[in-house]
């Protein structure tokens, strides 16, 4: 993961010099938390951290992306249960639309990992 992330950031930085570019990193938090993954990503760029003006966005679903899709489409979920085997494919378009809507008006009970991702999305301008 660290190697791929560092390589992707290198590719982003090379291209961002000549064209409008964004790098969106999506990685499940799994049994850990968002802060743990964020720290791991930071450590993958020793001496050359992600800068505030770079459109490098970290989306870190906890526990995994199925958790987000179910939550974004109205199901009561928590961030520690395993929803990995739930069939969520048909819910993805609505989940994506709600994610976009929540970026301006998030609900009061928004999952912590989604709240963190919505703040990250601001990097996209």
């Amino acid at each position: 993961m660290r190697e791929n992330y560092a390589r992707a950031v290198g590719a982003y930085r090379a291209r961002a010099k000549k064209a409008s570019t964004a790098l969106i990193v999506v990685i499940d938090a799994d049994m850990g938390d968002v802060e743990r993954r964020t720290r791991q990503l930071r450590e993958a760029l020793p001496g050359d951290p992600r800068r505030g003006d770079e459109a490098i966005v970290h989306f870190i679903p906890r526990r995994h992306v199925e958790t987000w899709i179910l939550h974004l489409t109205g199901e009561q979920v928590d961030e520690t249960s395993d929803y990995h085997h739930r069939d969520v494919d048909s819910l993805i378009p609505d989940a994506a639309a709600n994610f976009h809507q929540w970026s301006t008006t998030p609900p009061a009970d928004c999952l912590h990992s989604i709240t963190a991702a919505l703040q990250e999305a601001a990097r996209l301008g």
Binding site: R7, G10, A11, R13, A14, R15, K17, K18, A19
Partner: protein, 362 residues
């Protein structure tokens, strides 16, 4: 080797100019004229070197749609035996029913000139007096010009090989040796038969050695009498110290491909010929591509051959695009232009990854 090609008013080519190197990889999205380019070269070979009728290969409805222009122009520069040649062929729309015919043709090089215009041909040998003849505009004059200087260029042009192999058309039997191989390689057996007769045993041995390294268990290619003067090609494989022969047509598509491609390297590129191959990677496994690329690169360098590949394969892109790649680019349905593959030296992404992301045209 081909050093320049100019095409005007043919399909998507309008004032198109391309200067290929000794090794060249053509990249481009669908519809950017890669296959049309190969078709034009093949057609020029047929009309200018083999004497085919012009209207058999060039039709009036192949003129560029957005141009209101009756003439098609093709220019071809080449370096043949260290001498530079320039050939220009202009075709014009004529007659009823409308068809394309030669309106002007010129070859200069090696101190000689061949010029056809307004129905007359003027041929001037190096140091000689010009000779003027009435000629038939339905065929090129180059195809029949007798001068040695013209013959050298014509021989090189006629030897250009454009290949789009179709393995299922490759049979085992040939009725006679064949000097020329078809675009789809369907007459490989007849061609190989002529190669065996023409080349010394050690050249064939080098070819077979490459096959032994590339094809698991491969031992020999054997031409056996099949009655009536015909021959059948078998591939012999070794297994448990025993030899088994398999008719060429029963080999897998990939095995046939590899045999043909190593034959191209050893018997065409090594002769200084120009070879153009469309999608050479269709049937070859990943581990087989790199050794073949290395071999054709070595043959082109050592023997002044020329290899032009058209491919989207990541392995070929990564190996050839940074040094030998050109992009065919077309915006909308407009004309094709050609640019050197730029890549991005600062990016950690490979050439294939840049192409996959569409970042190769930044």
């Amino acid at each position: 080797m081909l050093t320049r090609l100019y095409i005007d008013n043919f399909r998507c080519f309008e004032k198109f100019e391309w200067k290929p190197g000794r090794k060249q990889l053509i990249l481009g999205r669908n519809g950017t004229g890669k296959t049309s380019l190969m078709w034009v070269i093949q057609a020029l070979v047929e009309v200018a070197a083999h004497g085919e009728r012009v209207d058999k290969w060039f039709r009036f409805d192949q003129r560029t749609r957005w141009l209101d222009q009756s003439q098609m122009t093709f220019e071809l520069d080449a370096l043949v035996r260290d001498r530079s040649y320039s050939y220009c062929l202009t075709l014009a729309l004529e007659g009823t029913p409308p068809h394309m015919a030669v309106s002007r043709e010129e070859l200069t090089g090696a101190g000689a000139q061949l010029l056809f215009e307004e129905g007359s041909l003027t041929a001037r040998s190096a140091g000689g007096r010009p000779v003027t003849l009435k000629m038939d505009p339905s065929r090129t004059t180059l195809a029949t010009a007798g001068d040695e200087a013209f013959a050298a260029f014509r021989g090189w042009l006629g030897g250009i090989s454009c290949w789009h192999p179709i393995p299922e058309l490759m049979g085992s039997r040939a009725d006679a040796p064949e000097d020329a191989i078809r675009v789809d390689l369907s007459n490989f057996v007849g061609w190989y038969w002529s190669l065996v007769k023409k080349y010394a045993a050690d050249e064939n041995a080098a070819f077979l050695n490459d096959l032994r390294e590339s094809l698991s268990g491969f031992d020999q290619l054997v031409l056996k009498e099949a009655g009536g003067g015909a021959k059948i090609l078998y591939a012999a494989f070794r297994r448990n110290a025993q030899s088994h022969t398999i008719p060429f047509s029963e080999l897998s598509d990939g095995q046939k491909y590899l045999i043909c491609f190593y034959a191209i390297a050893h018997f065409v590129i090594a002769e200084g010929g120009t070879v153009i191959v469309d999608e050479p990677d269709n049937f070859i496994s990943l581990s087989e591509i790199q050794p073949w690329l290395n071999r054709i690169e070595e043959m082109a360098d050592d023997h002044k051959g020329q290899v032009i590949l058209i491919s989207h394969h990541p392995e070929i892109l990564n190996q050839w695009a940074p040094s030998y790649g050109v992009q065919f680019i077309r915006e909308g349905a407009g004309p094709v232009r050609v640019e050197k593959f730029k890549g991005d030296p600062e990016s950690p992404l490979s050439a294939a990854e840049l192409v996959a992301r569409g970042w190769d045209l930044d």
